[in-house]
C-alpha cells in the first residue's frame, strides 16, 4: 500500500531529524544570543519594538479538549519542541496533512511531542476526528 509505505518512509525521516534536533537547537539558541547582543549594541530599539508574541524557542504545549486543539493556531521559533496532551475521554491523534509528523492514538492524558526544526506552515488534524484541524507556523 503506497500511502503506508510513504508514511513509514516519513517516520524514518522524522527519526533522522530527531537525532540532529539537539544540535540544531543549540545553533538556534546561539543565533538568538548573537541577535540579542547586536540589538543591544545598536541601542536595543529594533529588538524592543518586537511584539511580545514574537516566537521563542522555549518548549510549547497544546491541549486537546472537547474535540479541539488549544490553541488552534500557534507560532513558534524553529527548534521548538511542541507537546500535545489529550484531556478528552475519546482518543485523538496528531497527523500533519503532508505526513511530516504523525502520532499514534493518544488515550486520555497521553502526550505526543515533535520538534519543529524547519520553518514553514504545518497544518494538522486528528485522523480519528478529521474535523479537528489546527496550524503551527514555524519561523
Amino acid at each position: 500500500m503506497m500511502t503506508i509505505q510513504a508514511s513509514i518512509d516519513r517516520m524514518a525521516d522524522i527519526n533522522r531529524f530527531a537525532t540532529t534536533a539537539a544540535v540544531r537547537r543549540l545553533r538556534v539558541a546561539s543565533a538568538l544570543v548573537v541577535c540579542a547582543l547586536l540589538a543591544l549594541a545598536s541601542g536595543g530599539a529594533s529588538w524592543a519594538a518586537e511584539p511580545a508574541a514574537a516566537p521563542s524557542a522555549a518548549d510549547s504545549s497544546i491541549a486537546i479538549r472537547n474535540f479541539m486543539f488549544e490553541p488552534m493556531s500557534l507560532v513558534v521559533a524553529a527548534g521548538t519542541k511542541v507537546t500535545w496532551k489529550n484531556f478528552d475521554g475519546e482518543p485523538h491523534t496528531i497527523h500533519s496533512i503532508d505526513d511530516a509528523f504523525r502520532s499514534g492514538a493518544l488515550d486520555q492524558n497521553d502526550t505526543f511531542s515533535f520538534q519543529f526544526d524547519k520553518p514553514g506552515t504545518y497544518r494538522y488534524a486528528c485522523s480519528i476526528h478529521p474535523q479537528m484541524i489546527a496550524t503551527i507556523v514555524v519561523r
Partner: protein, 314 residues
C-alpha cells in the same frame, strides 16, 4: 429491541433481560431488496425466522476493544454477549461483516483480544473493513498485518456469496482536510471496474466504516467522494450500503439504494450535533443494553429479496 415485538411471552422477555443492549442487524434478501429484521425477534421466533428466508449475514460494528471508560467499562463482555446472540440464531448465517473500529487504539493487544473473541462466532467467514480507530497507530500496520490479506493490504475488495456481490470499501485512510472520510481516486477506479459488466439484477451489498452519505458534516459523519461511488451503483436494482462509525441506526433510501448504519456492540454516541463531539455517551446501566446491537440480513428466494433486521442486546 424494536417496535415490532409487541405482545408475546415470558421467554422473549427472559431473553431480552439476558441480552445486553445493542446486538446487531440481521439481513435477509427478498425480491432483490435487503430488509433489516429485529435480531432478537429472529432468535425468539423460529417460525418467523424460517419464513423470512435464508440467513445471509450478520453485521457487527464498532466493538472498540480496549475502551474502558464509564460509558461501558466492559466492552469485551458486551461483545461476548453479542456473539452469543448471533450464535443463538436458529439458522446460523454463513458470514459476519465487521464494519470497523474493531479496536479502540489500534494496539496489538487490543487486536489480539478482539480476534480471540470473534473466533467464538459460529460462522464460516468473517469479513472486515477498518475504522479510523483501527488505523490510528503511527505506522498504520497493525490492522493490515492481521486483516490485510483479503484486500492485498489495500483495504478494499469484493466477493460473491449466494448470488449477492459484496464490496468492502475503506474510507478512513485518506481523509480530506474538510473533515470527511474519503475513498480516493484509485479505489473509485477499482470500484468502477469491479462493477462493470455485472448484471443490474445482481443484489449488491457495500460495506465501509464511515457513512457513505453525509449525515452530519461538522462531526465528519460522511464520505467526501461517496457520490462518485453511488454513481457506479445507481443502475443496480438492489444496493444495500452498510456502515458503522456513528454507533446508532440511521437509515435512508434513495432510488434502489438503501443506506443503513449499525449500532455498536460497545457504547452509544450522541445524536448528530448534540454536545461538543461524537464521543462515548454515558447512559443509565439499564438503558445501555437497549442501545447496543447487531444487524442481520436474510435472503428470500422467491422473489429474491434481502431483509434487514436490527437487534439489541436487550
Amino acid at each position: 429491541m424494536s417496535d415490532q415485538d409487541p405482545i408475546v411471552p415470558s421467554r422473549r422477555r427472559a431473553l431480552r433481560c439476558l441480552a445486553f443492549g445493542g446486538a446487531g442487524t440481521l439481513f435477509t434478501l427478498a425480491g432483490g431488496v435487503l430488509t433489516p429484521v429485529e435480531l432478537a425477534l429472529a432468535v425468539t421466533d423460529r417460525t418467523a425466522a424460517a419464513a423470512a428466508g435464508v440467513p445471509l449475514f450478520v453485521q457487527i460494528s464498532d466493538t472498540h476493544i480496549g475502551f474502558n471508560k464509564e460509558a461501558n467499562p466492559d466492552v469485551a463482555g458486551t461483545l461476548r454477549q453479542t456473539i452469543e446472540l448471533v450464535n443463538a440464531m436458529p439458522a446460523s448465517p454463513a458470514l459476519v461483516l465487521h464494519t470497523g473500529d474493531i479496536t479502540h487504539l489500534s494496539r496489538p493487544e487490543e487486536f489480539d483480544t478482539a480476534a480471540q473473541l470473534l473466533s467464538q462466532l459460529r460462522v464460516t467467514e468473517l469479513h472486515t473493513t477498518p475504522g479510523e480507530h483501527d488505523v490510528a497507530d503511527a505506522s498504520v500496520t497493525e490492522y493490515f498485518n492481521r486483516y490485510g490479506q483479503a484486500s492485498d493490504r489495500r483495504g478494499y475488495y469484493s466477493f460473491d456469496h449466494q448470488g449477492v456481490h459484496f464490496i468492502g470499501l475503506i474510507n478512513v485512510l485518506n481523509f480530506k482536510a474538510n473533515g470527511l472520510g474519503a475513498l480516493g481516486p484509485t479505489q473509485l477506479q477499482w470500484l468502477e471496474a469491479d462493477l462493470k459488466g455485472r448484471s443490474a439484477s445482481t443484489p449488491i451489498v457495500v460495506f465501509a466504516h464511515m457513512p457513505l452519505w453525509t449525515i452530519y458534516e461538522p462531526w465528519g459523519w460522511g464520505t467526501a467522494d461517496a457520490d462518485q461511488a453511488m454513481g457506479y451503483l445507481r443502475r443496480f436494482g438492489s444496493v444495500t450500503v452498510l456502515n458503522g462509525h456513528i454507533h446508532q441506526i440511521v437509515q435512508k433510501v434513495e432510488g434502489h439504494i438503501t443506506f443503513h448504519t449499525a449500532r455498536s456492540s460497545a457504547y452509544p454516541q450522541p445524536t448528530a450535533g448534540d454536545g461538543p463531539g461524537p464521543g462515548p455517551l454515558k447512559v443509565a446501566a439499564d438503558q445501555l443494553p437497549k442501545m447496543l446491537g447487531v444487524s442481520s440480513v436474510t435472503v428470500q428466494r422467491h422473489p429474491k429479496t434481502l431483509l434487514l433486521t436490527d437487534t439489541t442486546l436487550a
